[in-house]
Symmetry: C2
């Protein structure tokens, strides 16, 4: 492979996770330590930072503060949801990116995000090749949704899963404290894939399983749902339901959207309020005391509960991206190939072609969903349980999380 010297840019995109900064740190630390990489820039708010020439000089940061990124949730460099155009239709953004790359002699571009980010990587790389500008482009995945193609799992999923399963176990205890019974509906993120809602079932490993789990992979049937809940409530005097925000009827319409238009008249596209909707319907049907709980942003930013396995793997993904790029790779996403034979989990990084990864959503296999469509099978548990292992050793200050405090010195501010 040819040797390539120059600067690198790391950007973050899409919804944040508890460990996306661990991946960024994997890139930044490895790049700072690599002699072929002459400067390390963090793009402010992803590709928008490149377009706006807002780049932080990561070489100006204190090493210990950078290390705190391992336990700092959200996207510390800032994220964006900017969808880059098709270069064949409009190459304005690409020309601007090329201009910035040339200005800073950027020869390595690392993009830390989900599906859309892998697509962005792919398009930028193809454009640079077309223009004859040598730049190696690598995707570093993240998504709590766990829906990226090829890789065994995605950095970020496991920590959200651990948060969800732990919270469900705690709510399990709380929800049966009175002898009067209650139905509890827990709403979990995941618009199209049910990996996160399925993770609620992990609480069963410590005897605190939800009674019912509904994933978006199965068309939702309200009558069946109400019958399921009623039967369990009548039998046990209690029922806990984990439900994906993305459950939808057979016609594709979201159950949650029916609610917002029906009751508050705002008709927001934004999902949410599903737990309250279902709880009220259960109350009408059964007369039970009900409670709807939405895990909301907490499940994706709850870094205090991040899985150490996830943190380690997220860092490794970033590190591997840099090492592979310096060794000559480009147009790849760093994913994982894992084995779980005889209960022993083993994980290796593996490179996937960006063009194969982009714009493909991986859903929970139907054979991991029970026949009733209201729970997951042992195969799902065996898959997900190894990922949530390991309690993180985060730094604490005055009893509260000590997050990274970066200086964020813009290159344009430097003297």
């Amino acid at each position: 492979m040819s040797k390539l010297q120059g600067a690198c840019i790391i950007g973050q995109s899409g919804g944040p996770t508890s460990v996306i900064n661990a991946s960024a740190y994997g890139v930044i630390r490895t790049a700072l330590d690599n002699p072929d990489i002459t400067a390390v820039y963090g793009a402010a708010h992803g590709i928008k930072g490149v377009l706006d020439d807002k780049l932080y000089d990561m070489g100006k940061e204190d090493a210990q503060e950078l290390a705190y990124l391992l336990n700092t949730p959200s996207s510390e460099l800032g994220s964006c949801r900017y969808k880059i155009a098709d270069p064949d239709v409009d190459d304005t953004d690409y020309q601007r990116i090329l201009e910035i790359f040339k200005k800073y002699d950027v020869r390595y571009f690392f993009y830390n995000g989900g599906n859309d980010s892998m697509d962005t990587c792919n398009k930028i790389s193809k454009f640079m090749q077309k223009m004859g500008y040598e730049c190696r482009v690598m995707g570093v995945p993240k998504t709590i949704d766990n829906d990226l193609f090829g890789t065994d799992h995605c950095p970020g999923f496991a920590s959200a899963a651990k948060y969800i399963a732990t919270s469900c176990a705690e709510v399990y205890k709380d929800a049966r404290v009175y002898d009067t019974g209650m139905v509890t509906i827990i709403e979990i993120m995941g618009r199209h894939a049910g990996w996160l809602a399925g993770a609620a079932a992990l609480a069963g490993v410590v005897g605190c399983a939800p009674d019912l789990v509904y994933l978006p992979e199965v068309d939702f049937d309200m009558d069946k749902f109400l019958a399921d809940v009623t039967a369990i409530y009548k039998k046990n005097g209690n029922c806990i339901v984990a439900v994906s925000e993305g459950i939808h009827y057979a016609d594709g319409s979201f159950v949650s959207e029916a609610k917002t238009s029906a009751t508050d008249g705002f008709g927001h596209a934004q999902l949410g309020g599903l737990a309250a909707l279902l709880a009220n319907l259960v109350k009408e049907k059964t007369g039970a005391k009900v409670r709807g709980i939405e895990l909301s942003l907490l499940q994706r930013c709850g870094a205090h509960l991040a899985s150490q396995t996830d943190i380690d793997e997220s860092f490794l993904a970033g590190k591997t991206a840099v090492e592979a790029a310096v060794a000559g790779e480009t147009d790849k996403m760093v994913g994982f190939a894992c084995t779980r034979e005889n209960g022993v989990y083993s994980c290796q990084t593996k490179l996937f072609n960006l063009s194969e990864v982009a714009n493909f959503e991986k859903k929970v296999p139907v054979e991991w969903i029970n026949a009733e469509g209201n729970g997951v099978t042992q195969d799902f548990i065996d898959y997900a349980l190894p990922l949530i292992q390991g309690e993180n050793q985060r730094a604490v200050e005055s009893g509260l999380p000590r997050f990274a405090r970066l200086k964020k010195v813009l290159t344009t501010q430097e003297g």
Copy 2:
């Protein structure tokens, strides 16, 4: 003091907390080890367990399982919200309690709960004295609301406060990840007292303070609220608001109740949905992207984040109740007297007369609320910060919380 030998009953009542079981363990462990106490019974679902003769023999439990109670949230013996009658009006329940006490030779009664539980203790004790039955009665406080009279603070408050402040710090990071701005409303428990909402401000210690905090101690003014939020959002492009579920207008009506009657027609007395209501109003007013987050049950059962200080003190409260009762005390609640001189926190147990504690709600002092009525002062921080110190060393099994698994052998089942 006279020596008194006999059995003891421990019961739990009211809404659970992350550490109420630590107090129960303090009672149970100390009582099991005390030669004057001949048997230790746990009442199933509080005073209802006494009335129904449903008592668990705690001597039948494995010592290690009992120790897991230190990190098990919710009320492991079961709770109730049963309000005992005034004995001068109807003494049926009291006669039944006396019957059970005589049946098991119960000479010590420990009740682990909030305001109402202290009232229950007081009434039972007075009745037993009237009937000439010697039984020492002690209250062991718990409440996340922190509203009990006399004591510096209540077991349970600190762990909820730590959960709230940590979650607010994490949401702070998540809520400013995009450069497009957002207003986030975080709804926190506390119907009449603002201790928990105020705890959100602790996140400021690590630079992640909410911009605005609204407590029920101050009459809520919707116009002022919207003006506050708009001003901060316009200035910073972002605004995080912590709000107590119990905020109310000057006429005493809850802000949240106006919502439930207006939009869903159910008119539940149960609070909730306030965050969504306020978020929607802010959206209408400012056009900002908004998100409402309700911490719901999570804040009171999030034992994985329980403050070690709280766990230690909760255990100590239970232990002290037994030791004091054996030494001759009765009709007391175990509380705390604390000093915080020069930043050094010191806590001693102190006994309070039940008759003084019962039915009095302690609110946040007005001088700890800022002049604008939308935040707390440094005095509040100095008060609460020492309480959330210490990361608990909870047991973990397969990456998930290992809770106590008690056998719960009923005395009526024993051979």
